[in-house]
């Protein structure tokens, strides 16, 4: 591998890894607070992408208005899902809420197919956000810089919310013990709604970034990133926000490097993700950063 090819692979790895990390943060954040793997997270990505798509192409809004609206719509949807599908099951065994989450995920996917059509649509790429960068022999999209920056900013923001604000203290309290927290005058409902609002907002940003990077959207588009980013979150230690970031980068960089170093194995790229997951869990069952931070989000 020449230096040029190596650098190109690094650029590819960063752009894929940061995208995985961005989506994984949302998974891990919701899990960290309410101990629910929100399977609908992946489908919120899809909803956000379609909202942005229709905003730009049908309602002819400027791209940034459309993106902001998409985030707002997705957040409202996320909160509604919590109210309808998760809140009534809060005292039920955890497995019931999990099944409910899978149900919501299927519902959104199939509603998408019925209402929006199964044929993929080309997602518009605003020139202000996406352009080609050529540096010496390597070329990459501006997104390879924008996405890591957004991921990092959101990571810091989530960490600040959880660790420095009153809501964050309440979140951590709720994450330890629902009942005790509510006895201490913490409004559990409000905390959970806030968690879902932030989580859905993250999903929306992830979905929009994903669609900019791979500009083809369809109602099942969330399934693949959802699975990969869930793996990334578990790898990093589910519940740990920095862990999700690390997991995402390991996964993205690993997939790219696997193909780069052993092109004949390129068809096994998805298998690679699972092999790495199994190996990490064998040696560190809690994930890379799981053990220490798991209780704190």
């Amino acid at each position: 591998m020449t230096l040029e090819t190596f650098l190109q692979n690094i650029a590819n790895g960063i752009s894929l890894g940061s995208l995985y990390a961005l989506i994984a943060i949302g998974y891990t954040m919701v899990y960290g607070i309410i101990r629910l793997i929100n399977f609908a997270h992946a489908d919120l990505l899809m909803v956000a992408s379609y909202a942005a798509f229709y905003g730009i192409l049908v309602f002819a809004l400027p791209w940034w208005v459309s993106f902001l609206l998409a985030i707002v719509i997705t957040t409202i949807l996320g909160i509604s899902i919590e109210k309808i599908a998760y809140r009534p099951l809060r005292d039920a065994p955890r497995i019931s809420a999990l099944i409910s989450a899978i149900g919501v995920s299927f519902l959104l996917e199939n509603l998408g197919i019925v209402l929006l059509g199964a044929r993929p649509k080309p997602f518009p790429r605003p020139e202000e956000v996406v352009w080609n960068i050529h540096l010496g022999g390597i070329s990459f999209l501006s997104l390879a810089i924008i996405i890591p920056v957004i991921t990092l900013v959101l990571l810091i923001a989530v960490n600040l919310i959880v660790n420095k604000t009153n809501v964050g203290i309440a979140m951590r309290a709720v994450s330890r013990d629902f009942e005790t927290a509510s006895l201490m005058a913490v409004d559990v409902n409000k905390v959970v709604v806030t968690t879902f609002a932030v989580g859905s907002g993250l999903a929306a940003v992830g979905g929009i970034m994903w669609s900019l990077q791979y500009p083809q959207i369809d109602p099942l588009m969330g399934v693949f990133p959802g699975l990969k980013c869930f793996i990334a979150a578990v790898m990093g230690g589910i519940g740990s926000v920095p862990g999700a970031m690390i997991g995402g980068f390991i996964l993205g960089m690993g997939e790219v490097m696997l193909v780069g170093l052993m092109p004949e194995l390129s068809g096994y790229r998805d298998a690679f993700a699972f092999v790495v997951l199994i190996l990490i869990l064998l040696f560190k069952p809690g994930g890379i950063l799981g053990e220490h931070v798991v209780e704190k989000v």
């Binding site: 590819n12 894929l16 197919i113 070329s139 083809q216 092109p263 390129s266 998805d270």
Partner: protein, 391 residues
Amino acid sequence: MFGKKFLTLVAMVMLVAVALVGCGGGEEAKSNNAANNESDVIKIGVYEPLTGINAAGGEMTVEGIKLANKLYPDVLGKKVELVIVDNKSEKQEAANAVERLVNENVDVIIGSYGSSLSMAGGPVAKDAGVPVIGCSPTNPLVTKDNEYYFRVCFIDPFQGTVMAKYAVETLGAKTAAIVQDVQQDYSVGLSKYFVDAFKELTGDENAIVAQVNYNTGDKDFSAQLTEVKAKNPDVIFAPGNFLECGILVEKARELGIDVPILGGDTWEAEEFLNRVGGLKDIYFSTHFTAEEPVTELSSTFLTKFAEEYPDKQVNAFAALGFDSYLLALDAINRAGSTDHDAIRDALAETENFQGATGFITLDENGDANKTAIIKKVADGKFVYETKVEPK
């Protein structure tokens, strides 16, 4: 915010809506079963991908079939009824779809876009003894060892050779890279035939400088293409689904790979064109072109298609769907009955049948020997480049 009751209501309405949509198919199936095959209609089953990754291909084909049905609605003095089933672009669903058509007592089946889907449906039809006419599955294995499967298109050994020849003789390529979808029999098969022909034509065993793989549904091709770029081939051959390939070709140009990129007949789809319309040096082989009408029926097809679908581009898949339907009618006519084996025998004897895509003669495998068309992408359109006659 919304009240809790309102949200619950919305959720209920959504659930009911989905449930109703889900049930629609079932009721339709029942009513079809009621009218059994002794009735006064001839049933032609169609299994095509109408949802999922190949939806556009299935849709184009079905448009051609429906057009043919509208123009030629009777055979043997009976009305022809189309039973169209979605195979969802999935192999398992393709087998189920054929099963369902068999249970509905169709007289002959047409389908499917996508070689893997046809290869999944083929054995079911063979076991039931129902003849099938493939419109566009090009992998040779579709009809191999299946005396009930026929097709109106050319096959991949020919298609692969045509593209290799074009790469070497017209584009002057000495080396090539392959990017293939390992989950699609079409992609793997076509790549293999291209590689064989390319090596033979260049006389160089090492003419293929890179071969990389991906999976159906992948969206990130940066790593594979970086590998290809490092090997600096003269051309890239990347047969595969139009969706993945659209992203792949666009990404290749983003990475600064500016050599010609070649593909197969699946590339002729609106979705592919939307992605790569502004790019250069993209070539693919296909079955039919409006610029070179080959038979009288081609002209009929072109005029009627333009009348029926004024806002759509005429395409090879619609033409092949059109031909499959006409061949089915012709075979039923020649068989003089709706007996499955009589239709099968009539199909096997097809000789010089006039279709919109050319004259069709089926060989001992049930495959058609036909002209290939090469098209390129220019200024947001598919443009006719040249044609290649079979040997």
